[in-house]
């Protein structure tokens, strides 16, 4: 499976009369894009705005982030949503580098913890470096579902809008010469190199919070996936929970562990593939079945070591630790990616749970660290912080105010896929 990923650098995005890409400037016909999105009968309203790096802008109510992509050859765009759910990861794909679609909104009718938790992106100031999109030009699409839509329908409408907008923005690249070409494949390598796998438990809980693999929720049995599939749009996020943990579609399209493993394939290791499974499993039997099946498949694949990440919090830690235990007991070395739940001063025990086999743990930082976010000129995405975050005193304020909040509220700040250089260290 070979993927030609062709990158088009975008330095700025502007609204204009006609959508095109020239000289690194993406011009977007606002009305045309809005009517394209509003063809979905579940969508009542869209508002478009641009947030640039360094702007005094705060974006709230973020539902998902997507990198603009266009599948040119060898499959469809976002299979399972905008095309048939057949494998991607081969052929030719165009990407816009330096741009994200940020879709925002509230999930109307959703009750407290099954709904949306607040999520903040600051485009400048000390909080900006904690999120993965403040260095990009962001097209912010605030959506409202039709009145009476259920929370699941609202979320689905926002998702469709984000994916359609991502394809729409990348469409002008058709026929243009890319700025960067990457050829992604896993060719045969020297048999002496260690075979390494990536065990990727993606969040799925309830009817609203999930991760879609070709349009269907991930399951609790490990699926062997070619890394190119994930980089090419096979995984789509429906993660609306704690902001710091979020794994948006953007981070799947640019999955950092996959990128790191592909870069070393043939040099330091043989990348055997991704074992995609689930976390936030609620049944003990299902947890055990997944962990033991993952270890079994890893052994069958001859894997000597595996990176094991996680997504979200709470039970996800237990799912990860059980996988670690089973893999280690089957003779597969593991490294775990976690974030820390300590106190604001870092003095509490940092993990939710552990097993003795967890001897190699990488920390993406303590989500309780307080960050000061200065007041901003512009707020995009909504007009007031979400209710239902009663533990966050800062959310009683106007959203453009100076805030002192835990990293927990900052988009993807301690995400366990490891996109950031943030880490928790012992003092």
């Amino acid at each position: 499976m070979q993927l030609e990923l062709l990158g088009f650098t975008v330095r700025d995005v502007r609204f204009g009369a006609r959508t095109d890409l020239a000289g690194g400037v993406l011009t977007v016909d606002k009305d045309a894009l809005a009517s394209h999105l509003l063809e979905d009968p579940d969508l009542a309203e869209v508002r478009l705005a641009i947030a640039r790096p360094g702007d005094s802008t705060r974006i709230i109510h973020i539902l998902d982030a997507v990198e603009p992509r266009l599948k040119v050859k060898g499959g469809g765009d976002f299979p399972g949503f905008l095309s048939t759910p057949t494998p991607v990861g081969a052929g030719v794909t165009h990407r816009l580098e330096g741009v994200t679609v940020l879709v925002t909104g509230t999930l109307s009718g959703a009750a407290d913890s099954q709904g949306l938790k607040e999520s903040i992106v600051d485009m400048s100031g000390p909080a900006a470096r904690y999120n993965p999109v403040s260095g990009n030009v962001n097209l912010v699409i605030e959506v409202a579902a039709r009145p009476g839509a259920s929370p699941v329908e609202s979320a689905a409408a926002s998702r469709k809008a984000a994916l359609k907008a991502a394809v729409y923005l990348a469409s002008p690249t058709r026929g243009l010469t890319p700025d960067r070409r990457e050829s992604l494949a896993l060719p045969p390598v020297d048999g002496a190199l260690p075979r390494i796998g990536y065990v990727m438990p993606a969040m799925s809980e309830g009817e609203l919070h999930t991760t879609f693999f070709y349009g269907r929720s991930v399951q609790s049995l490990p699926a062997l996936v070619h890394p190119n599939e994930i980089l090419d749009g096979a995984l789509v996020s429906a993660d609306y929970w704690i902001a710091c943990h979020r794994s948006p579609t953007y981070l799947y399209q640019n999955e950092p562990v996959i990128r790191s493993l592909i870069a070393r394939h043939g040099r330091d290791l043989e990348f055997a593939g991704v074992l995609l499974c689930r976390c936030l499993i609620t049944s003990q039997d299902e947890k055990m079945r997944q962990a033991s099946q993952t270890a079994k498949v890893a052994r069958m694949l001859g894997i000597r070591g595996a990176v094991v990440t996680m997504s979200n919090g709470g039970h996800a830690y237990l799912d990860q630790m059980l996988i670690c235990r089973e893999l280690e007991q089957a003779g597969v070395a593991t490294v775990l990616g976690v974030d820390e739940y300590s106190d604001a001063d870092g003095s509490d025990f940092p993990l939710v749970t552990t097993v003795p086999e967890a001897t190699a743990v990488v920390s993406m930082g303590n989500q309780e660290q307080i960050v000061d976010c200065p007041a901003v000129d512009t707020v995009l995405g909504g007009t007031a912080f979400l209710a239902g975050n009663s533990y966050e005193k800062a959310f009683g304020q106007a959203p453009g105010s100076a805030l002192s909040v835990a990293l927990r509220q900052i988009y993807c700040s301690t995400n366990q896929l490891g996109w950031s250089t943030l880490r928790g260290r012992a003092y």
């Binding site: 070591g305 739940y341 003095s347």
Partner: protein
């Protein structure tokens, strides 16, 4: 900044009094550096002076800890230190325990900052109090020079009230506090690098060291449930309607109690749920799903349990710090015990 004064604590051996035959030596105070203190003094390069040395036999400290520690502290106080340095104790258990005890006491009772050095597996490393920095040393004095260099560097920083960097960078044992920092490599790169080292059998340093939790032994079985008083304690986040006590939906700082005497079940008009970690709709519709008061009353009527305790204890068990949860547990257990409750059902979520 002017030079600050170090008072150095040594055992009988490093203090030049003698070997095991002098292990009962009483605490003594002498001016200036002695033994390893001479090199320590030089390594402070004029920023600090080893002004005095207190020596004491290891056995005396181990066998008469209270009075010996008191005598040592008196001598330390007399020498007017800005900083107490003890050791290095290397792998010596008695010496390490003495260094940790003297440092903790100097810090707590004299308000003097303190630093010591020993090997990580020295029992003194476990016993040290908060705020005592332990520099890592080798297990024997064969690494004396490198160990004293590390100790001197830390001593100067601590004496000058400069903030210390991360434990790995500075060479001290983690104090239990963790701090976020930006590094040069992403988490993904660090995971892959650590995995390659682990698979190749090369040394690697986990970024989180997993501690062993204290096991909680199960209580003995209830001897006769049909005569026992039973209580319910819940971390499900069930609270009175309107959450009058303001229990937080996450990292709760309080627990509450509700009088349930005379209630046959929990009504959704009287109780709600403020837990922030799960879908609470079903419990809000029927609070008995979190605390099965209806079923417990039936058991009471049928004589399967003696009596249901009149007080329901609740909190939100969502990302609660371990230390706070332990404290809540002790407080609630004390109340249950004094009320004669023999067993409790814990409903979680």
């Amino acid at each position: 900044m002017s030079t600050f004064r170090i008072v150095h604590y040594l055992n009988q051996f490093f203090g030049g009094l003698g070997g095991e035959e002098k292990a009962d030596a009483a605490p003594t105070l002498r001016a200036g550096p002695i033994g390893p203190g001479v090199l320590l003094h030089d390594l402070c390069r004029g920023q600090a002076e080893v002004a005095a040395t207190v020596t004491c036999g290891d056995n005396r400290m181990a066998e008469h800890p209270a009075e010996t520690l008191r005598a040592v502290l008196d001598l330390v106080r007399e020498a007017k230190p800005d900083l107490l340095v003890a050791g290095p104790a290397f792998g010596s258990g008695r010496y390490g325990l003495a260094c940790a005890a003297v440092c903790s006491a100097a810090r707590q009772e004299l308000g003097v900052p303190a630093v010591t050095a020993m090997s990580p597996d020295n029992p003194g490393a476990e016993s040290r109090g908060a705020h005592v920095i332990v520099a890592i040393s080798g297990p024997t004095a064969s690494t004396m020079k490198a160990d004293l260099e590390r100790l001197a560097r830390l001593a100067v920083k601590i004496g000058r009230r400069e903030p210390l960097g991360a434990a790995d960078d500075e060479g001290y044992l983690p104090s239990g506090r963790r701090v976020n920092e930006f590094g040069t490599k992403t988490g993904a790169e660090r995971m892959v690098e650590m995995l390659l080292r682990k698979v190749r059998g090369e040394p690697f340093a986990s970024e989180v060291v997993v501690p062993a939790f204290e096991p909680v032994p199960p209580a003995p079985p209830v001897r006769d449930l049909s005569t026992a008083t039973l209580a319910v304690v819940t971390t499900s986040g069930l609270v009175g309607a309107g959450n009058p006590g303001g229990v937080e939906s996450w990292r709760a700082t309080k627990w509450e109690k509700y009088d349930i005497s005379g209630l046959s079940e929990l009504s959704p008009d009287a109780f709600t749920c403020v837990h922030g970690g799960y879908d609470t709709r079903h419990i809000r519709a029927n609070p008995n799903r979190a605390v099965p008061l209806d079923a417990l009353r039936a058991s009471e009527r049928e004589g399967r349990i003696g009596r249901l305790h009149d007080v329901l204890y609740t909190t939100v068990g969502n990302v609660m710090p371990v230390l706070r949860a332990s404290q809540f547990g002790r407080e609630i257990a004390a109340e249950l015990r004094s009320a004669g409750v023999e067993a409790a059902i814990f409903t979680a979520t």
